[in-house]
């Protein structure tokens, strides 16, 4: 008969131990797990991301129900174990279930520490620990405005950031003068505070809470200095306590946590403990990396494999708040026997400090740029002697110049840890690539668990992948344009040209797509490539277009659309404005808004009203929905502005008229400013034109979207004709070499500015490019007009059939 393992606690540490044990000894035990929470095992760390809106609850499940089934694990959720009978080797739950064990693991985690303030039992006072707390906050944000987070540590700040994202006004109360005082030094802490204040967080530092105000629900918080703050929600994030009640009542030795030895054994035979509830050599850890290490040791112990035992861990922390990069590890505080190398750059908002004792790196704090984090952490763990090259440790070989990710990976030794949470080394990842054929982050994640927890190491994992797979260390990973093929963009376009393929169907057939009709990723991409290569022959495949481009309007979250008439250079007339206003009234448009590109957006239009509205407007489509030229933003330039040196409006209108409707790999935005004051913000556009005395500067590859990028200067020219010439050649080169969905900002970085400069350098090459773009432009028709005029197309905008419920039910 198989031996029975029972585990109390269905959390991160315990289940990780079981996972590792199953790998070592798949059939040795019959396993039963009890968990108080009603969910299968989930990634608690990512609750912060759920709260911040970056992940869904379902994204954070680590092992779903079927995993337990497949591994023949009996799982009792919603059951709290309240009795361990160590004599008869039985556990019993509050639900009346009783199960015998041969080996018992206690992995009950910890409990959030709740300040014993008067009023702490009021509605709206919670901790931040589990899914329920997360849901409570999300619900509260729908009804209430103000939130206070008590505790300016890691957890408190992550909670505060999440609440900000939920549109609450958030104040963080902290007893210390500095935020994250347990992980950061004063300088880093101040930098952090400034950044968070910029994001809208308010701070009440050096404040001691006295009582929580309100009748049934909290209405405010009073401090010991007599001051008060109003609030509708209080989140306490002041620390955690190992959850040891069960162990204590069962006669197991406890101190702060459940006392375990290097093999994670308690003082009672056959009972072990891992995770936040356990205390090893006087330390109870509160981060997953050490807990997973403990799990690994216990897994070996249970599988009967020799192990050196758990030796304790050096920990590192990272704040998971968007826009703030903070890292700290080891001993970071200055002491009489330590020396430190520091770099502080107030312009870039960067602070780095490496603490050294007896020639060894013992701690580090990084703010603003944490790319050195894993390298330094590895040094701390290895206790590397850096005598004589202390500065190089921080500044790198290049003496201050940041190393690229690939250089960094190349210089890492095989046993350096890449994923701190799961303890995955560079060597393990390299092995997974070479021996198991992993070629994407997801495969690495499935295979080694690297990047599966907090996700902070993803960029580094990607660098390792690129480093191994790229033959000469530079080539990037080869990935197909979608899951239907292993061919990349260039191979597909090459085949379209070389084999004269003119329909998506042909491409998929000839190139042996794994899904016969493709997917939502490749179909629009193929449609674009075909039109780019064969502007004349290719017939647009409406069924392969994304809804916005098919309906020539942006779909909104409620299924309505928005209508944006073309307004060249952002200039309109009173007459057009009147017309737009009248039509907005006629169709009861619920929201009229000016867009970021200086156009008028009529939002909330029903699909069936679109053709009618377009007909009434009788204006060209503004293409606010397509992978095409969107707008050319302009400033007033010399027309009115006292600084303007050139006619920015005129130039903008010319550009917009020239390139409207042109299909491009991704949307393209342009702007023209009349002088270097750059009021049209041309240097964050795909193509920006800035007037200078006697000429124009042409800027490329800017983006103001998700990833902010300033432009690179392409060249300077003298005349308006030259602006048109260069912009046309540039756009066509992008059309011909860009990947579908790749904005110019990414494209410029991928192909390199110099390559682009060379491609456009000679007059001859520019002319050839322009001839090709002209061909494409010649074929463009206004889509609104086309639909208004063609009954067949117009029909698809109204329901095929509409019947009332009564008429059918009678």
């Amino acid at each position: 008969m198989k031996k029975k393992i029972v585990m109390v606690g269905n959390g991160m540490a315990g289940v990780s131990c079981i996972e590792q044990m199953l790998k070592l000894a798949p059939n040795r035990y019959e396993i039963t797990i009890f968990g108080s929470e009603p969910h299968p095992n989930y990634n608690r760390i990512l609750l912060s991301s759920v709260l911040a809106g970056d992940a869904d609850m379902k994204d954070i499940v680590i092992n779903d129900w079927s995993w337990y089934e497949e591994n023949h694990i009996t799982l009792y959720t919603g059951h709290t174990v309240n009795k361990i009978d160590t004599e008869r080797k039985l556990v019993r739950t509050d639900g009346g279930v009783s199960v015998p064990y041969d080996e018992l693991i206690i992995a009950t985690g910890s409990l959030p520490f709740m300040l014993p303030l008067p009023g702490a039992d009021k509605e709206g006072v919670i901790a931040f620990r589990d899914i329920k707390d997360c849901e409570t906050m999300i619900e509260a944000a729908k009804k209430y405005k103000k939130a206070v987070v008590i505790g300016g540590g890691l957890l408190g700040l992550e909670a505060a950031r999440g609440l900000l994202n939920l549109n609450m006004e958030v104040s963080v109360v902290h007893i210390n003068e500095y935020l994250m005082n347990l992980q950061l030094d004063r300088t880093a802490s101040l930098l952090l505070q400034q950044e968070l204040e910029r994001q809208g967080m308010k701070f009440l530092l050096k404040k001691n809470s006295e009582s929580i105000l309100g009748k049934k629900r909290v209405t405010g918080l009073r401090f010991t200095d007599g001051s008060e703050i109003e609030t509708d929600l209080v989140v306490m994030a002041v620390g955690i306590r190992p959850n040891i009640a069960l162990a204590k009542s069962s006669g197991i030795e406890i101190n702060r946590g459940i006392v375990v030895n290097d093999l994670l054994e308690t003082n009672v035979p056959n009972i072990y403990s891992v995770g936040e509830c356990a205390e090893h050599r006087g330390v109870a850890y509160g981060l997953v990396a050490p807990l997973y290490e403990q799990g690994g040791v216990l897994a070996k112990r249970l599988a009967g494999i020799e192990t050196a035992g758990y030796q304790g861990s050096v920990v590192s922390t990272k704040l998971k708040v968007s826009g703030v990069d903070v890292f700290s590890a080891g001993e970071y505080a200055d002491k009489p026997d330590t020396r430190a190398v520091r770099v502080q750059d107030d312009f870039e908002g960067i602070y780095k400090k490496v603490v050294i004792r007896d020639g060894k790196v013992i701690g580090a704090v990084l703010f603003g740029d944490i790319s050195d984090g894993s390298r330094l952490f590895a040094m701390i763990r290895n206790g590397e002697d850096v005598t004589g090259k202390e500065k190089t440790v921080l500044l790198g070989e290049g003496g201050g110049k940041a190393k690229s990710g690939l250089d960094l990976v190349a210089s890492m030794s095989d046993d350096e840890i890449v994923c701190g949470c799961n303890g995955v080394s560079k060597g393990a990842i390299v092995q997974a690539v070479q021996e198991k054929g992993c070629s994407s982050i997801n495969e690495i994640k499935a295979c080694t668990k690297a990047s599966a927890s907090c996700g902070g190491c993803k960029p580094l994992v990607a660098d390792v992948l690129t480093y191994v797979l790229g033959a000469d260390g530079v080539k990037t990973v080869k990935e197909g344009i979608c899951g239907c093929t292993t061919l990349g963009r260039d191979e597909v376009v090459e085949a379209i040209r070389g084999m004269r393929l003119t329909t998506s169907k042909e491409v998929m057939n000839v190139l042996e797509w794994s899904n016969t009709e493709g997917c939502s990723k490749c179909r629009p991409a193929l449609n674009y490539y075909l039109a780019m290569v064969w502007p004349e022959e290719h017939e647009d495949e409406r069924e392969s277009r994304f809804v916005n481009e098919r309906n020539h309007a942006n779909i909104q979250k409620d299924g309505t659309y928005s209508v944006v008439p073309r307004m060249y250079g952002g200039v309109t007339t009173p007459k057009d404005l009147k017309k737009i206003a009248e039509i907005a009234e006629k169709y009861e448009v619920p929201l009229v808004k000016v867009t970021g590109g200086q156009r008028i957006d009529l939002l909330g239009v029903k699909k069936e009203d679109l053709p009618g509205m377009w007909a009434d407007l009788d204006m060209p489509s503004g293409y606010a929905y397509g992978k095409t030229l969107r707008t050319v933003k302009t400033c007033v330039g010399s027309t009115f502005c006292r600084f303007g040196t050139q006619d920015a409006i005129g130039m903008g209108i010319q550009l917009e008229k020239k390139f409207e409707r042109l299909g491009t790999p991704a949307k393209v935005k342009m702007a023209v400013s009349g002088c270097p004051r750059n009021c049209a913000e041309a240097t964050i556009k795909d193509f920006g034109v800035v007037a200078i005395d006697g000429g124009w500067e042409l800027h490329v590859g800017g983006n103001g979207g998700t990833k902010l990028r300033g432009t690179d200067l392409l060249c300077k020219v003298k005349t308006e004709e030259e602006v048109l010439e260069w912009s046309g050649a540039y756009l066509q080169y992008y059309r011909e070499t860009g990947k579908y969905n790749e904005r110019t900002a990414e494209w410029v970085e991928r192909v390199g500015l110099d390559t682009i400069k060379v491609a456009l350098e000679s007059k001859e090459d520019r002319t050839a490019l322009i001839e090709r773009i002209e061909k494409a432009l010649d074929l463009m028709k206004d889509p609104w007009k086309e639909i208004i005029e063609q009954q067949e197309l117009r029909k698809t905008f109204v329901p095929m059939e509409e019947q009332s419920a009564e008429s059918i039910l009678k």
């Binding site: 379902k58 899904n515 016969t516 009709e517 493709g518 997917c519 939502s520 179909r523 629009p524 409406r542 069924e543 392969s544 994304f546 809804v547 098919r550 309906n551 779909i555 979250k557 409620d558 299924g559 029909k795 698809t796 329901p799 095929m800 059939e801 509409e802 019947q803 009332s804 419920a805 009564e806 059918i808 039910l809």
Partner: protein, 110 residues
């Protein structure tokens, strides 16, 4: 069960769909390449995206809002997402006229 005439198969282009409204119930009728038709409720189980506007591949549609993939034969959401959309039976006669079969309760409930 009601049998409701909802137009002719020729009114839908291949790999596209058309909307049918029965009271407050909105149904998307899809035509695959090859001519098979299928009908499902026009509401993604995720955030209520209009599935009629999605890209149709084989017998699947990709929701236009967040790209969930749904099997049009049975309305089942494909992994890694989960859920299900109500599917309705469509019948096509020799002249191409299409009929939807709908429980009276679903019309009343909508």
């Amino acid at each position: 069960m009601k049998r409701i005439h909802v137009g002719n198969i020729s009114e839908i282009a291949e790999k596209r769909s058309r909307v049918v409204r029965i009271g407050a119930l909105e149904i998307a009728v899809f035509k695959f390449s090859g001519g098979t038709v299928r009908a499902i409720e026009n509401r993604c189980p995720h955030k209520a995206g209009k599935l009629s506007e999605g890209i149709v591949c084989d017998h699947h549609v990709f929701c236009p809002l967040h790209d969930w993939k749904i099997n049009l034969h049975d309305g089942v959401v494909q992994a890694p997402d989960e859920g299900c959309v109500t599917a309705f039976q469509v019948e096509v006669d020799e002249s191409g006229d299409m009929y939807l079969h709908i429980e009276e309760e679903s019309i009343r409930a909508s």
